[in-house]
Subunit: 342 residues, 2 copies
């Protein structure tokens, strides 16, 4: 099976989950980047099938015939991906899947093109996985540091945006903020329970709050999201036993995930050298105070606050912010498709 | 000089900075806790002098005569404390100071009563310092774990509320939220610069954002706030060389600071044992998902997400949330005054 395309060749591209937040962004990023689209086909749930988007009639993802497509970008839930992606791959397309369904499959490459595009050399199942949005923000920053000094361990505390939970996440925060409205500053003192929005989607309200427990607890009481950060970092960087302790926290920010990192290396690396490496790293932009509003809508991951972590021999502390919808999802998927064009 | 008071004795209490956010809270906490106040005197800037608060005429802090006071609680800027506190102490009162002015002074005890009230045995300058609000939230949780297993190193990433910046901090967030208003969800995609509030008080806007650079940079590019966390933790826990790497981040939350902690101990300590110790620790309440809205207005520090940190031999990860105005400032100051009554 040929998994590479020729420069100049137009590709027939499908988007499964075309009406969702990431699906919509994939459409605009394909256009922005002048991706060589021949035919574009859009797939969604039966609810949206028949509607027209950008002049294209949406097809029912479950019943459609996928023959003739070269690349199909999936942005749907894990269960749908698990059921549908193998069929689409069997019909001849390369699937680039944004769910967690195949990320830990040893026969499915998990790719951040700046970091491990070499993994695209073998795509035995015709499926490539797009990493989790938190892992994704971290990888372009850690890769050059790992190449220089050998990553030994990683501690990460995150500040994740609600759009990681799709349109529903955005809607929940917007409604909770509106619920409190102009009386928000009264929350500065206790005793305002009547003013608080009810918890929705997350364990406790997200507006004017911080939520340190997302998703269900798994191994050793780490959440699924925290275990993804560990497992995906190991796979992408190629460090099978990398010790990782992540604390994934949701904050009342619409887009762009921030990560406070404390990393230890095998060999010495100074903050000055790290900054030098980061300054020329692909997909990385240095910032004195990297922040979500700065990173939203940008392709690069913003990195700053680089300094020595004095609690370990060769340690660095740094702060990384990346748009979870673009680099964290849609952009990386399109970049994988671009990397398939030799 | 006698620095202890007798149970049953009424104390003449002064509050310097009585009109501020923490000053107001000190007044209400004295009442809540039935602190044995004899005479209450309130001090503030000349701007407020002459006004009446709770039936008490506010005095000009700079020119007042402090004779006859037993305890004076200061909640003003470091410069004012530095100039005024020694005079008030010389007039015979014990000063409990909430600024950073005296915290690193070896002749000034820095006290969290649940942790190191023994330090109140010697108050050579008549001044006791109240720790920084971030350090304060962490101490009641770490103390029992340190006693059990010997704290060896600490990594902390914070999620700090705007009321740490006083009434001005609250006002800035409230105004920035109002500026964006109901169009907030549009921030989920880039290209909405016109919608963004201007940066005020902090390096970048705080509404719908996360600010990883507070205050000025000091030693090794750590901020003053991060260095306070290090130095005050060392002094309060009595571990002079404790290695600490802190990343202090401001989030759009009105009150209660959250801290994601990764700590290493000299000796083994399981998450189960840690939970057992925390369950009976004074000033600590366990929570499955500790969060600022839960902690606001409460006296206890909320602790949860306790699990093994597998990146070090005897490591724990945990999440701590405490009301920065109460335990983080006003409550602890009053608790110090209570501890002075034998």
């Amino acid at each position: 099976m040929v998994h590479r395309f020729t420069p100049g060749q137009k590709l027939n591209v499908g988007i499964v989950g075309a009406t969702g937040l990431v699906g919509s962004m994939i459409r605009s990023i394909l256009a922005e980047r002048n991706f060589p689209v021949g035919q574009l086909r859009l797939f969604a749930s039966p609810r949206s099938a028949g509607k027209v988007l950008d002049g294209v009639v949406i097809e029912d993802a479950a019943s459609a015939d996928y023959a003739g497509l070269d690349v199909v970008l999936f942005s749907v839930g894990g269960d749908t991906s698990r059921a549908l992606a193998p069929k689409v791959a069997a019909a001849g397309a390369i699937v680039i899947d944004n769910s967690s369904a195949f990320r830990s499959d040893p026969e499915v490459p998990l790719v951040v093109p700046e970091v491990n595009s070499h993994a695209l050399a073998h795509i035995p199942k015709g499926i490539v996985a797009n990493p989790n949005c938190t892992t994704m923000a971290v990888m372009p920053a850690l890769k050059p540091l790992h190449d220089e000094a050998g990553l030994k361990r990683m501690v990460a505390s995150t500040y994740q945006a609600v759009s990681g939970g799709g349109l529903e996440g955005i809607d929940v925060l917007a409604r909770q903020l509106a619920h409190v409205g102009e009386r928000a500053s009264e929350l500065a003192q206790g005793g305002h329970d009547a003013l608080l929005p009810a918890a929705e989607k997350w364990a406790v309200p997200i507006a004017h709050n911080v939520v340190p427990l997302n998703y269900v607890l798994g191994e050793d009481d780490y959440t699924e999201e925290e275990l993804k950060l560990r497992d995906e970092s190991r796979k992408i960087l190629g460090i099978p036993g990398l010790p990782v302790s992540g604390t994934c926290v949701r904050v009342p920010v619409f887009t762009a995930h921030s990560i406070s990192l404390n990393v230890e290396f095998e060999r010495p690396i100074s903050p000055e050298r790290a900054l030098e490496l980061l300054a020329s790293a692909p997909g990385v932009e240095l910032s004195a105070c990297p922040n979500p509003l700065e990173a939203t809508g940008k392709d690069e991951v913003f990195v700053g606050r680089v300094r020595r972590d004095p609690t370990v021999p060769h340690g660095l502390a740094l702060f990384v912010v990346g748009d979870n919808l673009r680099k964290g999802a849609a952009l990386n998927a399109v970049q994988i498709a671009e990397a398939l064009i030799e």
